[in-house]
Amino acid sequence: MKYAHFCLLVGCIMFAACTERVPQEKTAAKPEIFPDYTEVTVPRTIAPLNFRVEGATHIQAIAKDCNSETYVKASGKEHVEFNLKDWHALLAQADSVCVSVAVWDEAHPEGIQYGDFKFYINNDEIDPWLMYRLIPPGYEGWNKMGIYQRNLSSFEQRTVVSNEENGRGCLNCHAVCQGNPDKFTFHSRGENGGTIIQCNGNMENVNLKAIGAQMQGSYNFWHPSGKYIAFANTNTHQTFMARSKDKIEAYDLWGSLFIYDVEKHDSYVDERFNDSTTLESFPAFSPDGKWLYFVSAKRVNMPKEYEILRYNILRLSFDESNGRLGENIDTIYNAEKRERSAIIPRISPNGRYLMYSTSPSGALTLYHNDSDLGMIDLETMTDVDCTCLNSEESESYHSWSSNGKWVLFSSKRIDGRFTRLYFTHWDGKTWTKPFMLPQEDPYDNTLLMMAYNVPDFILKPVQIDRSRVKKLLKRKEE
């Protein structure tokens, strides 16, 4: 009998917990949700846009197809998590989704029903995976860091390689060939350092300093053919400001470019970009492989004259047959004229647009509060307005999806220090409101003490044998 009473009590509690509450107030105002997913445009395959309402004790949300009766419900204490399967069923058929939110909090103990907010579904496909580095933000040191990949349709994050493989050293400058992770590079710094190049299942640790150009690579970009990798060879330093909104100035004391031939295991330097009067960096091939874009600045006394260090975006032709650079240098972005520095040129897959990061000066604009994204139409050589992508905080490190319809970028707009990832849709004329990478628990965006760095779309997960990476880096040490 006692047992029956106990079961009844548990049943009642569970029933009460599962019962929907009815809010006593109603307002037409929209709820203040985090991340802000109101009026955003998302791809059909995006993971659930779970959100949070600060200070809530209970939230109920219904995401409903604006044109049919299909819906998905979720409730929670401070945040809501939509069921993955139901969410994808909803997004598979909806063109727009209306989200109704009711919140119970200190101000509204009996609950308040907010006005519905909408988001839109776009049929343009997005690449299914992302790759990025997670590092402690700014400054010099780190403990843990790693390169990770994330499934955009779910919340699955996998480690590609972490600094457990190289004795807590630095891992940086990862790159894949046109979104194909079968061709993949990254650098491992420190005692066991080297450049790991994985090409069609074959992985090696290349000592770039010991071959051809005898230069150590940093920022790199694969030629679409997969036969070459353009490397910058930079000596990067940083200095710290005593009191300002920008905390750090990162700069190169030298910067040059070289081309690595993946098949011949050789590298070649063009002496024009290996002198002491200019600094070169951030090479990037055009998607047709015929052009090499890069940034170049006149060398100044750094960091004393950091406010006049400005990088131009230049390009020259590239001959795939021999891996050599052409004679004529085109200036795509004139830093002196515009009085702004531009870095990280990235060409859209159709070859028409060049996106870059810009700020009044500097080599690594991501450290600048006023770093913004900009874009040039290479057909008309005119600027494309990117105002709606930018915020008062730093925006940088952008990447095009393989169909050129989505752009991924990093921004510090939440707190000014920790970069988070954002997506926007480009239809050839306009941008949509950027939305933050969804997380299973949206509060993770706040609690994560790491910054996202060098995000890139990838077409499938990177397959890498981490134990082999460890061995390769160890062998070098021996």
């Binding site: 005593a242 009191r243 300002s244 909104k245």
Partner: protein, 394 residues
């Protein structure tokens, strides 16, 4: 049940609790505050356990109970499978667990004592760090005298910092074996010993951005983010009116079990602060680089750009000139810029002026070339100088 009665868990728990309490007393409270890590740590057991060291008795009892239960369970399982000599095995397991999952309990402490002198130095360093953290400057000076470490690199730096904080630096400067102004702190280096003193140094100078930097570096150079660093970073963000950073870090700290009061208090401060200063009013960029110039010039820059505590920066500037025994330069700074506002001059200053006079130079001769002239034309050469910086991680 007989089994558990035979090996009285209460007694074992109390014994283990005693060990854990001792651990707190000997090691954690005194020497290793840096081990109080928070989320994202490698080992969740440590994260969980460490928080109880804020309440040592409660924590010790919980830990003792947990390990007793583990030990008895292990013993019970071993007995079930028929192992007769189970007691030594379980004891070894329990000791292993205790050794690995207690935050440097005295087993390790004993190990340090026996095998490592360096770690003893680290203990002293952590003690000084705690005293500086508590702004117990007199206590810090006394501890350094007691440990006879006044002339060791770390002891001298902490002691000089305490002198500056107490306003007695210029009076007592030459009672130390200081040979270079670079010995006021560890410029351009990171480490468990270096970052806390650097942080305390810039905090004393009220240069909050650099204090934040050093607090974060401290977290990075040890095992991971730790309570002490996060708390520091929150306070320095508040000082600079960087509300969004402070709020983010408060959210993180609020996830820990025992910092809700701290979080509540700081949130109230932020709410009030926002009314007075809605946002950080610092310029977007600055030419005043920390560790970018020599120590002397850095202090001069801080003074002239009005960043931080001007009086302390000037005291460091004057002291660093005196360390170099540049009497003429000292007098120029002293008079030309009319900087020193104290009514009663410290003895070393008076002596420097007397020496200058004794050389037969009238004080007014010091007027033509100002320190600013020296600074811009002589001290900063027109060529590239090796700014103290390190490679970026990007």
């Amino acid at each position: 049940m007989k089994f558990f009665k035979k090996y009285n868990p209460t007694v074992v728990t109390l014994m283990l609790a005693g060990i854990f309490w001792l651990t707190y007393t000997l090691v954690v409270a005194g020497c290793y505050p840096n081990l109080l890590r928070i989320i994202e740590a490698n080992c969740w057991v440590n994260d969980y356990v460490l928080q109880f060291f804020r309440w040592p008795y409660v924590g010790a009892a919980i830990m003792g109970g947990a390990f007793t239960a583990l030990m008895l369970l292990g013993a019970f399982l071993l007995k079930l499978v028929g192992l007769k000599r189970w007691m030594p095995v379980t004891l070894i397991i329990a000791c292993e667990l205790a050794y690995n999952y207690s935050p440097d309990m005295e087993l390790k402490w004993g190990h340090f004592k026996l095998f490592s002198e360096d770690l003893e130095g680290q203990e002293e360093c952590s003690k000084y760090m705690l005293l500086a953290e508590a702004k117990d400057w007199t206590g810090l000076k006394l501890a350094i005298i007691k440990d006879d470490t006044r002339n060791t690199p770390i002891g001298m730096r902490y002691s000089l910092l305490a002198e500056s904080a107490l306003g007695t630096l210029s009076e007592t400067l030459f009672t130390y074996n200081i040979t270079s102004s670079e010995e006021f702190l560890y410029r351009g280096t990171s480490g468990l010993m270096e970052n806390p003193i650097n942080k305390a140094f810039y905090e004393n100078l009220e240069v909050w951005d650099e204090s934040f930097h050093q607090a974060q570096e401290y977290a990075m150079t040890q095992r991971d983010w730790c309570f002490i660093s996060v708390k520091n970073m929150i306070d320095f963000s508040i000082k600079e009116a960087e509300w969004s950073v402070a709020e983010k870090l408060l959210c993180v700290l609020d996830e820990a079990l025992f910092y809700h009061d701290f979080v509540k208090e700081r949130r109230a401060i932020i709410a009030e602060g926002k009314k007075v200063k809605p946002m950080n009013d610092a310029p977007i960029r600055d030419k005043n680089f920390v560790s970018g110039y020599s120590f002397q010039n850095e202090m001069y820059c801080l003074y002239t750009t009005k960043v931080g505590n001007k009086d302390k920066a000037m005291e460091y500037l004057l002291c660093s000139i005196l360390i170099k025994k540049k009497i003429e330069q000292f007098v120029k700074v002293f008079y030309d810029l009319g900087l020193y506002r104290k009514e009663k001059l410290p003895q070393p200053y008076l002596e420097a002026i007397e020496i200058y006079k004794s050389r037969g130079t009238a004080l007014r001769d010091a007027q033509p070339g100002t320190y600013a002239y020296y600074f811009y034309n002589i001290i900063i050469p027109p060529v590239e100088i090796p700014y103290g910086s390190s490679k970026t991680t990007n």
